[in-house]
Assembly symmetry: C2
Homo-oligomer: 353 residues x 2
């Protein structure tokens, strides 16, 4: 089988390798890879800035935004040959820490978790892959050409769960949400906001194009003015920050409404220094009882929530998010971001092309 | 009766006035003021930087950290003449907003709440005051000389409740807490930390003196090194920030452990600009699933929690926190901070001197 591999820590080592077909264990599925979503983390790994190969090996099969079709399911399992599935990204640490021991491995305390396609375990950018039954999630067949959006949807499902649980510490009936950044995370966060019946606003730098169109198609409001102006006017109950840009982050935090919750989801690069009025920011967070919460990764509960959100989403809207589909052999094109990209997908078989 | 009054918005207008005795309504207590704690908010009001007088009046009776003895309780109420009581500070807004309508007036959304001694309602710096039965809280008689610590204790009781409820969004068994600032809020936050069985660390700038002694007497660990060094080593599960100093705030946030919760309680002054690595701070908050929460004021649930905390505290330790007791007529001395002050108290009768 063919797979997209990389040597973590070294720039520009991505290539398609011909590897032996994987063999599924007794409690594993053998899955035919259909497609793979590409994200900023993949690009960081290809650039040599992130990622870890499996112990004793130099190269890692890339890919964590999976979509596949079960080729062989163990008898008596909840899966059937032909099922559409995605594989969960993270696995609990082996100690395990208290969070991992309780299934909350997205909150792992000791950092010894592993992640398919990112940290010490091969990913899903392969024509065949295996996955433990406990870490495979079935998708509705209608999602056959968009199901690789599942993993980013789990990220926003977790973000929304964090917001809901933190909001519930006192009286909480949110109305207005501002999403900063109209990439896949921002747009999927907006989707879940509309599914909650909220007044959803999405902000990005571009003035028009597929991002603005996707926001409008969702029935949400698109903004391209500076975040301080937009948030200052909206006074949102919730901000979901998906740019990772320092100035956007702090302008958003400083302009929520009272009891505002800002959920940070963008993994930014260190080394970008900005000046802030720390006295004013601290004072406002205190006097408004505001919260800033970081959210990364997802556990099985969030995969279930994401599957539910996708099942209730408009298929044509989901298809809007996939702005390019690139065959595996042209992975270089997929790994190079273009201005109008929302989600770029590597196709592994003809079925998802 | 005598009362300490001030003209909000004008610097240096504090004076002792002779005013008519207040008259209690049918559902109010008439209370003899015993003592009053003085805090930074009082000093801001006296400096003309904060505070609002009652509608139609120029002057406000100062004081929100109350302690008094019931002179007259309505028949059939839960109070008896002679009971030791404190008055709640905040009252719900008149609209009311959803939070105030649900008793969560500390989370008031529209800012139209009022506050005794701060915002539009006379305070407790008077030889006699009245308070609605629903906003009076009974204290154990043994707290007669320290009960004015109740109000700052409600602030930390709320802070701890916020931390507990936010922590409970996933698996959470905190062990280590770092408190920054060893003023009354910091020390009372440390007290509640030890009551929870946590490993408590308190950081302040001074190298020794009553603050360091109070921390040691609590069985907690005192630090006076920079917060980045202390927190970086401890990797605390919880930080309770009680300095309001921008650099301390951001160094604390950046050095929590994974799934760290930083609770900001210090009301700082705007206009203090610092440079931060926004990319690094954002990245760490996201990848560690960290939370920053602001907490101000307290509702009746927090008053009950605070009364319980004080009832279980060592009386001699609470007395350590009151480093000066100043009679009402010498209010100027009480309003001038001294380096070794922890809590300064105005005494209104001989009973609390």
């Amino acid at each position: 089988m063919r797979a997209l591999t990389v040597q973590p820590g070294t720039h520009g080592t991505a290539r398609v390798d011909e590897l032996p077909d994987p063999v599924a264990g007794d409690s594993e599925l053998l899955v035919e890879g259909l497609a793979l979503g590409v994200c900023g983390t993949d690009r960081e790994i290809v650039a040599g800035d992130y990622g870890w190969s499996p112990p004793g090996r130099d190269r890692l099969i890339l890919g964590h935004e999976s979509l596949g079709r079960v080729r062989h399911a163990p008898a008596g399992s909840d899966f059937t040959d032909g099922d559409l599935v995605v594989g969960v990204v993270r696995r609990p640490d082996p100690v395990p820490c208290g969070a991992c021991a309780h299934g909350e491995f997205d909150m792992c305390r000791n950092g010894r978790y592993t992640e398919r396609g990112i940290k010490e375990v091969d990913g899903y950018a392969a024509e065949l892959w295996t996955v433990e039954l406990d870490y495979a999630v079935k998708l509705d067949e209608r999602l056959v050409d968009v199901g690789m959006l599942m993993e980013p949807t789990t990220v926003v499902a977790k973000a929304w769960e964090q917001i809901d649980r933190i909001g519930a510490r006192s009286w909480y009936e949110p109305r207005t949400v501002l999403v900063t950044g109209a990439g896949p995370i921002g747009l999927l966060a907006a989707l879940l906001g509309t599914q909650r019946g909220l007044d959803v606003h999405v902000l990005d730098r571009v003035t028009d194009g597929p991002k603005a169109d996707a926001v409008a198609a969702l029935g949400a409001t698109y903004h391209h003015e500076p975040v301080a102006a937009v948030a200052g006017k909206l006074q949102p109950d919730v901000v979901i920050e998906a740019t990772g840009a320092g100035s956007v982050v702090f302008d958003a935090i400083a302009n929520t409404g009272t009891y505002g919750i800002t959920c940070l989801t963008g993994v930014s690069t260190p080394g970008r220094t900005i000046s802030i009025d720390a006295g004013a920011d601290n004072r406002q967070i205190v006097l408004e009882n505001d919260v800033v919460v970081g959210s990364v990764n997802a556990n099985l509960r969030h995969y279930r929530a994401a599957a539910d959100a996708l099942a209730h989403a408009d298929l044509d809207w989901l298809r809007r998010l996939i702005t390019r589909r690139v065959p595996l052999e042209h992975f270089d094109e997929a790994l190079t971001a273009r201005p109008d990209d929302i989600k770029v997908v590597l196709t592994l078989t003809g079925e998802a092309r």
